[in-house]
Symmetry: C2
Subunit: 115 residues, 2 copies
């Protein structure tokens, strides 16, 4: 039985993720276990005023799922405020970034798909 938990286990600190601001906490929920074209499922915590920098997906698409908190997402040239339950798709060839604009942690799931 392959089971993991988003909230338990080892978190890794990442500084300036994709040239973003500050230090994030990051956990690989599923990656090596996956056999399909789903590359990974990651859980990332963005403390207040931190961000994932704007970056391009050349050969994959990626989904952000907002589990808690709120933020400002950028996809290509569009900015949008995102809140709990929002799901943002970044298609192949598109660029995205995310910033925590709130006083509480911003928690997200990140899922990447290959072609």
């Amino acid at each position: 039985l392959i089971i993991s938990n988003i909230y338990h286990g080892n978190f890794i600190n990442i500084t300036n993720c994709h040239d973003g601001i500050g230090q994030l906490q990051f956990k690989i929920v599923l990656e090596e276990e996956l056999q399909s074209k789903i590359s990974f499922l990651h859980f990332t915590i963005l403390p207040p005023e931190t961000s994932i920098g704007f970056h391009k997906h050349e050969d994959s698409e990626e989904i952000y799922i907002i589990l808690k908190g709120s933020g400002e997402v950028i996809v290509n040239d569009e900015k949008h405020i995102v809140v709990q339950g929002d799901v943002i798709l970044n298609r192949k060839g598109s660029s995205h970034g995310l910033k925590n604009i709130n006083r509480e942690n911003l928690e997200i799931l990140v899922i990447e798909g290959k072609f």
Copy 2:
């Protein structure tokens, strides 16, 4: 900007999902929008005493993410109690099912990956 919300929008009622018990509420969060080998991202609510019946994934793998509530998952011949934050992988060729064993709704994300 391709954005959706897990909790808002149209839910569909499904009765006896994969020969399971009772009526579930189901929402397609992302499906047609996806271009990679991620087939879909669905949000499913299992009211108390309902279930997704035991079924096999012949050509895909599928991930359940428990957002709220608790349940009993079966993968092949193994049963396990799952709670908020648990992530359960069902590999290609494996079978799984899920039952709500609690008095509150069980909310899950379902992601399928192709090969």
